[in-house]
Amino acid sequence: MKANPQPVNARKSPMHTDFRIRYSGLGWILCALAFAVGCLSPAVHKNVPAFASAVTLATENTKSAFDVVEQEYENVQAERIVVNYDREGFNPNMVKQFLGPEDLEVRLALLDALQHYASTLAEVSGDKQLDQFDDKTRALGSSLQSLTKTAAFQRLVTSSAMEVNIAATAINALGQWFIERKRQQQLPRLISDMQEPVRRTAELLQADIGSAPDDHGHGGHGLREQLWNEYTQAALQQVAFIDHNKDHMDPASKAEAIKKLPQLVRQRALADQTLKQTQVTLSKLVEAHSALLRAVQSKTDIQAEFSALIGEGQRIKSFYDSLQKKG
């Protein structure tokens, strides 16, 4: 009995299986190569956004701290001018700023530079660039697929879709290796170099914010003491205004003016707590940056390494699968 001839595809099958084994082996070698260099610990991906948030929070809070002190300083000036007007009149020299624009500018410039550092760090250590690289390699795979389908190319060379996909996967793995190598080699040093500037920045801003005076008037300095005194001054001017005008005020206006006094006392305590909280956010900024350094320097444990290996393997697999679907 004559055996049925095998279909062409079936005859090709053993060769393709051979290809699959050889080239998938190559894929795993490249994957292992990428892993040998190491990739950024997953903790880095968690800590970079935490640090970026801490920088944003510290920046906004610090700007607000200076703003609120400046604003209240202006208010007190205006109230003093009102209360003393009959005796002293007005002179433009009475209008002053608490902090000169150049002194505020240097602080804001440093905070902006820190924000730039945090956002660039997030971009460099994040997955966005790796995803872009995947897209570009995928596009290369598609282009290669189209090329192999042209009649002219088929007459020149024989190349299967599978070979093209394997080549694209290999290029992808090598590219990822280059990117990870660059990050792994340079980020820990840069983050380490920034530990001292970040710590010193927080220290300086905390010193600027200072502390409120105690009940004996001791230990106060900086923005907190200034703001504390500004609210006290505001209450003082308000009482003086009421005392000098109470006989000419209608009951409703008088009641409104008096009601403002306890509000000022409450606002003083609240404003001080807000500035104190800003000092806490600055401490958190330093902690977040230290945690980032620990994460970037840490060797992941076996479990984490294994997870990372699986993760990298899955990433390469899904990339390979996406080429198969297109091809």
Partner: protein, 111 residues
């Protein structure tokens, strides 16, 4: 702020608090105005001390900013290097597409 500066600060702040405490309990407008005038003057002194204290750190901020800018430049260089790897892949894809087109047209005319 060193100890001597803080002591000067404390002396004026203590005086300011004494004057304001006296103001709250003063009974005549004349006494109150006199105490308020003194409190205003001491408030201005404490304000000047706080301004000087904050200004004294301004140069440190400039130095720190320069250090951060140096690190930012290095970070941007890494970002640019990675971008160039991605760009190279895009260029390679474009070249393959161009070859594909050229072969297509060539096939139509010469084969």
């Amino acid at each position: 702020m060193d100890q001597t500066q803080q002591e000067v600060h404390d002396a004026f702040e203590e005086l300011y608090q004494s004057l304001t405490e006296a103001y709250w309990v003063a009974s005549t407008i004349t006494d109150k105005d006199r105490l308020r005038g003194a409190a205003d003057a001491v408030y201005d002194i404490v304000t000047a001390l706080n301004q000087a204290d904050i200004k004294s750190r301004s140069q440190d901020y400039v130095t720190l900013k320069d250090q951060v800018i140096v690190v930012n430049k290095k970070l941007t260089a890494i970002q640019t290097d990675i971008d160039s790897i991605i760009h190279t892949m895009g260029v390679a894809s474009g070249v393959v597409q161009a070859i594909s087109k050229a072969l297509d047209f060539g096939g139509k005319f010469f084969i």
